[in-house]
């Protein structure tokens, strides 16, 4: 294995959606890479393809969705080339996932201690007795108070934040190299959100786990991530260091996103009366416009934007952008 190689590398990924004989590219030309231990943000609106990109990374796409082209490499190994059994050995052990809804992501009929313990039994061949002890340790690690007692609780006895802590404990139980977090805090209230995020970052830093953070919460991504990729209608429009994206967004879509973030006191400072918006709606997968997919909503669109999709171009300070008129 190449030591210098990134942990996860996605190269020119296309995900096809089969629909009554037609194939639509739900995701197209997506490339990014995540070094070991780094937190990478993938942002975009609902339906832009970020969640199915995550599923593709997990090797969990199901018909009608399928990988159409491109490669996904985890630690230098190509995920598509692995047999199902190899994928199952990878999941939970090298790569784990946290979901948006902690309410439904736990089995309601099994105690949380048992659900954590199952990971040790499944992946580390531990006995049940030993696994139960490790599960209590794992609960302590995610700072669940009185873990011995909590381990016997069922999911419905826990609050949303506690459940998400349990999910984190399960996902990190076997020290995976990559944690895919699909909007892990969207269903939680704001105070709990920041606790969970801090916890996640701290634990991942401790274990050297990289995070693929999927979110539509720009503030969250700005706070957590080193690098950020912005997705629009199935394509990456911009991929740069998080700091740069928010300080000086390059793609018109990102500029729109950043401008539409509410800021405390911004109204007085800028003399605006209402929150900025990006005009128009995201096109449906079946009707992506030709050329640049953002051109119908873009203020600076020209003729070439309407015809030829822009290539990824490098920008100053590292990163890429897909736009003819980028800043």
């Amino acid at each position: 294995m190449n030591v210098g190689a990134p942990l996860l590398e996605v190269v020119d990924l296309r995900i096809d959606l089969a629909d009554a004989g037609l194939r639509h590219a739900a995701v197209e030309g997506v490339s990014f890479s995540i070094p070991r231990g780094e937190t990478f943000g993938l942002v975009g609106e609902s339906g832009c393809g970020k969640s199915i990109t995550a599923l593709a990374v997990m090797g969990l796409l199901r018909p009608p969705l399928a990988i159409g082209a491109g490669r996904i490499l985890l630690e230098g190994r190509e995920i598509q080339a692995l047999p199902q059994s190899g994928l199952k050995r990878l999941r939970g052990r090298r790569i784990a996932m946290i979901f948006q809804e902690p309410m439904t992501a736990l089995n309601p009929l099994s105690s949380v201690g048992r659900q954590i313990a199952e990971m040790f039994v499944l992946h580390e061949g531990a006995g049940w007795r030993q696994a139960q002890d490790k599960a209590v340790e794992a609960l302590r690690m995610v700072r669940v108070p009185s873990p011995e007692r909590r381990a016997k609780d069922y999911p419905h006895q826990l609050s949303g934040g506690m459940r998400q802590r349990v999910m984190i404990a399960i996902a990190l139980a076997c020290r995976p190299a990559l944690l895919v977090a699909d909007e892990p805090t969207t269903a939680l209230d704001v105070t709990v959100q920041s606790e969970i995020i801090d916890l996640m970052q701290e634990l991942c830093a401790e274990k050297g786990t990289a995070i693929l953070m999927i979110s539509h919460d720009l503030g969250l991504v700005a706070r957590m991530c080193r690098r950020v990729a912005v997705m629009y209608a199935g394509r990456l429009v911009e991929e740069r260091a998080a700091h740069d994206v928010f300080r000086a967004p390059s793609h018109p879509y990102t500029q729109g996103l950043v401008a539409s973030m509410p800021r405390l006191g911004a109204r007085a400072a800028h003399g605006r009366n209402r929150l900025q918006e990006i005009k128009g709606v995201v096109p449906s997968i079946a009707a992506y416009p030709p050329g640049c997919r953002f051109h119908p909503r873009c203020g600076s669109a020209s003729d070439v934007c309407r015809k030829v999709p822009p290539e990824q171009t490098g920008i100053e300070g590292g990163g890429t952008v897909c736009c003819y008129h980028h800043a």
Partner: protein
């Protein structure tokens, strides 16, 4: 939790039948067939013969108590076979989908379209009469409802978050089916199983009535009814009445029990009581 009338009544009736079956050697006043005495044939209920005697002078009360063993065993064992077959087929079909699911659904529809009693008759015709072939025949012909329930549950459960989560955690299909799907569908399956037990007892009665079930002289409720055919016409009402009532109350009890269990195992009521 509120006491449920149907659960309590059904449980009591079923417990009565089970109690009679288990305690048969102790509570029977006569031997079910060795004490036959033609001198005492067709006696009405009285102090010596609690529920009267049949044509061969056998004590009907003792025969009902002993018959409970066979009727209940047929009900429980055959329904157990049905439940296992139906759950396995439905669970795997619903979870895996594809060709296997088409096959399972086709088989289920086929089974539903054949009257199960006729099918059981055919199986007994092949295997020969006797308790064993009765169990097999009833066990192979009534799994389609369980299968449908299990398949429908598997279909809806497999899109649940925790099943998806289990996949991302590297669970094998078997493990997902056994630890994530099965425990969550066990409620409706128990309900269907209990209701089906009543059906199996009735089917046993019907097959025994036709002379294809338990072989004489051992009593089963169905064969007792069958033997009492003439008495229905000649007026010795007690001979068919009591085995008939035994069937009636046991099946009623099982249906009430199934109903009660459905109420208790309903996730909605579970949330309320939690």
């Amino acid at each position: 939790m509120r006491l449920r009338v149907n659960l309590v009544m059904g449980g009591a009736l079923f417990a009565l039948a089970v109690g009679a079956a288990v305690l048969a050697p102790l509570i029977a006043t006569h031997h079910p067939f060795l004490d036959a005495n033609l001198m005492n044939s067709e006696l009405p209920p009285g102090s010596e013969y609690l529920l009267g005697t049949d044509k061969q002078g056998r004590d009907i009360y003792s025969r009902i108590v002993w018959g409970a063993q066979i009727s209940l065993m047929v009900g429980v064992v055959s329904q157990l076979i049905n439940t296992v077959i139906g759950t396995m087929l439905g669970l795997t079909g619903g979870y895996w989908g594809g060709k296997w699911d088409d096959f399972v659904s086709g088989l289920t529809n086929l089974m539903l379209s054949i009257p199960s009693l006729i099918f059981a008759l055919a199986i007994i015709a092949v295997l020969g009469r006797g308790l064993m072939s009765l169990l097999i025949a009833l066990g192979l012909t009534n799994w389609s409802f369980t299968c449908r329930i299990a398949r429908a549950s598997a279909l809806s459960l497999k899109s649940q978050g925790y099943v998806q989560a289990a996949k991302t955690l590297g669970y094998s299909d078997m493990r997902i089916m056994l630890t994530q799907l099965l425990p969550n569908m066990v409620g409706p399956i128990i309900v269907i199983g209990t209701l089906g037990m009543g059906g199996a007892i009735l089917a046993e009665a019907a097959l025994s009535f036709l002379g294809l079930g338990v072989q004489p002289p051992w009593p089963s409720w169905g064969s007792m009814l069958s033997d009492a055919r003439d008495a229905i016409i000649t007026g010795q009402v007690w001979i068919p009445l009591f085995p008939g009532l035994a069937i009636f109350f046991t099946v009623l009890g099982l249906n009430l029990l199934g109903d009660g269990l459905r109420d208790v195992l309903d996730p909605q009521s579970k949330v309320r009581s939690a």
